[in-house]
Symmetry: C2
Subunit: 180 residues, 2 copies
DNA sequence: CATACGTTTTAACCTCGGTTAATGCGTGTT
DNA sequence: AACACGCATTAACCGAGGTTAAAACGTATG
């Protein structure tokens, strides 16, 4: 038994179109979602209406609200399709039950969580140690394909600046590129 | 068999004094450390000499470089004692071996990783969505005991501002508190 | 006591990014 | 073709925080 067998056996296939939500901020959703294809954004919405993007998700990513699945809290963020998306929905508690019975599934879950933790540590590092301009340049270097698929509004809200701010950053970066 | 049995049986007790390092940025260290007592800071040092503090660690926290333990990379941050500290050092790979043999240990590791992931997501949220002033106010509210133990220099580098900046933020916050 | 060292505050100046608003640029849609 | 709508850029103004340096505090240590 493996994690992917679990996905096959226990997962529910879901298809969503552009603009549709998987869940909304404030919902209780105790599922995890494995993305087969498409593109989504996980985003926070403040009381004042300011949107901030937590992450973009695509093929092979796994997403869900841990606080909701693990603690039963309402989701602190929403999950929205930017492209038509096929996902496999699984129950977090069912996965935990399997993990208690099956040591190899448990260890695959550990691997998933280790990958996830390292990803979050990397983002923490970027916010803590780098400027918005450095975060932008790094993103251009590391995931140029992603940048082509999303609007600059969304890219800005992912980097933690406004669209106006990102436009200025781009101008600075590309002008200094011309000199070198 | 439980995770704490593992700590007892396989762990090595370590004592360190103020100013001593557990490991330095750039080292390869494939251990995890359980903190019995004391206080540490995990911190990044940039090429230009700028320090940024990733986290403060104390009683019952677990720390280690995942990238180093899991992938064998050099540690991207260092770990330094701010108070005399007693730790239990365990081998990451030994823990992984135990997890492969013992389903209950594996599931405790899952719990540890879930807690860790939620902590990192919370910090991501704070950098992405909140101002330095809001992060400071939240820290005062949530962990007032920590603030008494560390210098304002370290607090600033944890919040992602300079000590000068934090001094201004404090002044603003306390002056607006007087009014209410 | 005197000195030295680290911490915190304050001040002056500057830079980056936020805000608002106007303009221009696609790309549908009717 | 005309219009509307969302996206991107630009400009003007503002504010938060960075930088540098000085001053005000401790609190060790000789």
């Amino acid at each position: 038994m493996s994690f992917y067998d679990f996905l096959q056996n226990e997962g529910i296939q879901i298809e969503k179109d552009i603009g549709e939500h998987i869940f909304r901020q404030g919902d209780v959703d105790t599922s995890l979602y494995f993305i087969n294809s498409g593109l989504l954004k996980a985003y926070y919405l403040s009381d004042e209406g300011k949107e901030s993007i937590k992450s973009f998700l695509s093929h092979k990513d796994i997403i869900g609200s841990l606080a909701s699945a693990y603690l039963g809290e309402p989701c602190s963020f929403g999950l929205l399709c930017l492209q038509p998306t096929r996902l496999t929905k699984i129950s977090f508690s069912a996965l935990r039950e399997y993990s208690h019975k099956d040591v190899s599934v448990a260890n695959e879950v550990i691997d998933v969580l280790l990958q996830f933790s390292m990803k979050k540590e990397k983002r923490e590092f970027e916010f803590l140690c780098l400027s918005a301009e450095q975060r932008f340049s790094l993103l251009v270097k590391n995931t140029p394909h992603l940048i082509e698929k999303i609007t600059q509004n969304d890219l800005a809200r992912y980097l933690g600046v406004t669209p106006v701010g990102l436009s200025r950053i781009k101008k600075r970066v590309y002008e200094s590129d011309l000199l070198s």
